[in-house]
Symmetry: C2
Subunit: 479 residues, 2 copies
């Protein structure tokens, strides 16, 4: 175990041991069934007392991450099988029109029903909300802004926020002029503008399969066609399938979560991102990258946005604060490369500008160290929640169940026995005050009938655990 324990950290020492185990689990170093070092051995290696290590192991046991076997020691809990990667045959034969609206509407509506346990919403920041910090800053902004607090922001965004965002890209090695950042109403508007910059009605857009349903709705509303490229639950889309798609079909643009896929939690490594950008730029195909989960990585480092590898200005980066800090503020951004002028015009035409007070508050929030501290804590909690949820699924779902092992974000992708109809399950779960997301809405061609997406991005409570148990019972009763 190479990671050093930090004695001057704010975290208790036993918590650092817990984090270490969870991190090694998340990275795949520790696998289901692996034996853990004995109390004595680990305490020596880390220069900790035995009771400290014991405390960590006991808590991990309580969290269903490890099991103690009498006279044998501690073991990683036998985990779920990793979700099978979609077979290559699943590359869309031909581009498909999208039409899943009515079910998507029901999914959204379920989220706002009273007393609902919302396993159906991807709202990971709620696991460690920074509402207090943001409220404090917003109050300060209200005090100093006066009448400016209600005025129009510039159409492309509040300058200090644009500068702060540009500074963050500088951290990834990209030299960006703040003017190149266009503030939008969440990433959804950024995606909408990006698509309208690069494609027209009838054009073919390559997307992931499974893909975030908001992307499918957008493609449908713009009258475009979707070509589904299978995504590996480990490291993003299959590049070989993408190449086949490019050769067979006239792909006008690609729209991928280059960072962390929703719903699988798959994470594309940096060298693969680079390869992807090179491939697409060599074919002059624009890449719209959805990086909203980028800061919620469980891997060692944050992935580098594909934008940083662009040489011809063909990458359009879409991101937001909706998964990290303030979903309800509706503030996102777009870096549009060579499509910048068009993107600015579309932003004006489609919604004029974005909320100034919300931009101002976020600008001050990310300018300090508070945002980064919050993200660190949020990642820890999400990683822990993931382990809890996977353990809970294993305990209560039918044995044939498979699940992805997300490398970031706040949702897992669960494959149920083939005879389960997840749309039916969705309606049954609502009756029990549980919202889930049925798999079929993640595909333009209505794949994934027996899949569901479950969120672990919330404060972990008995209510959540019970909801997962209830789900398990509902599924078993359906078989």
């Amino acid at each position: 175990m190479s990671k050093a324990i930090k004695r001057n950290s704010q975290q208790y020492l036993y918590q650092q041991v817990i984090s270490m185990v969870l991190e090694m689990q998340a990275s795949g170093t520790l696998r289901p069934g692996d034996k853990l070092p004995s109390l004595r051995k680990l305490s020596q290696q880390l220069s900790l007392s035995i009771p400290t290590v014991k405390l960590a192991y006991t808590e991990l046991e309580r969290q269903n991450v490890i099991v103690a076997k009498p006279k044998s020691g501690y073991f990683m809990k036998p985990n779920l099988k990793l979700l099978d990667i979609p077979t290559r045959g699943k590359l869309g034969r031909s581009p498909t029109q999208v039409n899943n609206q009515s079910l998507i509407e029901q999914v959204y509506e379920a989220l706002h029903l009273p007393d609902m346990v919302s396993l159906g919403i991807a709202n990971p920041s709620s696991a460690h909300p920074c509402d207090k910090a943001l409220a404090r800053i917003m109050r300060q902004v209200l005090s100093k802004a006066g009448a400016k607090a209600i005025s129009y922001a510039p159409t492309t965004g509040y300058a200090p926020l644009k500068r702060q965002l540009a500074l963050r890209y500088f951290d990834y090695g990209l030299q960006l002029n703040p003017d190149e950042v266009i503030v939008t109403n969440g990433a959804q508007e950024a995606l909408s503008i990006a698509l309208q910059c690069v494609a027209r009605k009838g054009d073919v857009i390559a997307i992931e399969s499974p893909a975030f349903f908001g992307v499918l709705e957008l493609i449908e509303s713009l009258g475009m066609m979707a070509l589904e490229i299978p995504v590996c639950s480990d490291d993003g889309i299959w590049l070989t399938d993408l190449v086949t798609g490019i050769n067979k079909h006239s792909i006008k643009a690609c729209l991928f979560s280059t960072s962390i896929n929703n719903p699988t939690g798959s994470f594309m490594p940096d060298d693969k991102r680079k390869e992807l950008v090179e491939l697409l730029e060599s074919h002059n195909i624009p890449l719209i990258e959805d990086d909203v989960y980028g800061d919620l990585y469980f891997t060692k480092n944050r992935g580098i946005p594909a934008q940083c590898y662009a040489k011809k200005g063909l990458v359009l980066t879409c991101s937001s604060f909706s998964k990290t800090a303030a979903p309800g503020y509706r503030i996102g951004w777009l870096i549009a490369g060579q499509f910048e002028a068009q993107a600015r015009r579309l932003k004006r035409a489609l919604s004029c500008s974005s909320s100034l007070i919300n931009q101002w508050t976020l600008a001050e929030f990310i300018a300090g160290s508070e945002y980064d501290r919050n993200m660190q804590k949020l990642r820890e909690i999400l990683k822990l929640n993931k382990a809890r949820m996977l353990a809970c699924i294993q305990d209560t779902f039918p044995q044939e169940t498979k699940a992805s092992n997300p490398k970031g974000g706040g949702v897992a992708w669960v494959e149920l026995p083939t005879k389960i109809d997840s749309e039916e399950l969705f309606h049954m779960a609502i009756e029990q005050n549980i919202s889930i997301t049925p798999g079929v809405i993640f595909s333009a061609s209505k794949k994934f009938k027996n899949y569901i997406r479950l969120s672990y991005g919330m404060p972990w409570t008995d209510q959540v655990e019970n909801a997962i148990k209830t789900l398990g019972q509902l599924i078993s009763s359906q078989q």
Copy 2:
């Protein structure tokens, strides 16, 4: 003078006399050059003291509304000629593609340059901003909302805001279910969704001429065509021209400010709105109504939204708080009639949802009486500012200048001598730290080269008056 003076009003008696004169001027009852009742006569009629009436007249003189002629009495200041109504020949011969983007971008950019006197922005609420009330309410919301203050709003909007808006339409006699109201990112997004509900690329949209340039940008970005229907600077579009347009061209939808036109300040009377809806519904042509200035009327009563006359669900109402209370909050709404289901889907696809904290704050603001009190005061100030601006234009612009006499809103439409190029004037004015809006961007076919739009929707200061004087000098120097 029929209007009674209210002795129990919060307004001083002399101020009530001023308001009365301004109201009669706005309604056209008092015209330039008209003789006012003598001090003695008016004091008798209104049962006021002579000094009270004298005080009112002196203030009106100071405001350039009336003039005292020695030994003759008081007269309405010889006003500008009312703007000639566009001749009927100006109905677009054929639908036009729109392309004015670059100049529009420069106009927007000029608004955010430092130390600019912004005669170029339509931001009327800044004449009497309610930032203090909104800040107070937002603080209260922050206190009671906790973590909810940063969460997602439902995709179609925060329920209490939708209910408050439905109640307001009930005031106009329309029974509306709150579910029929879709909250949007300002009226601009409402217009965008509405257009996408009723028309496709290449379709012909009938618009006003002159029309708000944001509408033109939107039509361009959606690849639609614009057919320009002349708007009378008195009472909205020429219905006869619209009928000709319907007979000659395949109009897919109309997009009009049924209420108060931007830039002319023209006000369509209720019976004409009714006639317009009946005409369009009889041809099965949807009407998108832009009602953002509806609450800023100088007429006796607020106009009834066209929505209230719809019998076939073909009216789509777009409005917002951007001209009345909080431009920077970016909260508007759409009532989409028979296109409701499509509109809900488009809202989700295009931007997911709108800012919850901003919706919540506005819901509480309009639930009390504070919004209505603010609007009453704002209308008074705007009416007074209008008189001040028109007087100032008359004093300092070349004699051939004509100007509209707005019946509401915060902008006036000014026709300059034909040899003036208003785009050139725009650039010259920027050099003097004055922003104006050149007329050409209000037309798809680049009409109105010698027109400008000037805003009187700001706190009236010497700086504003001096800016108008400087403009007058620039124009004279161009001749």
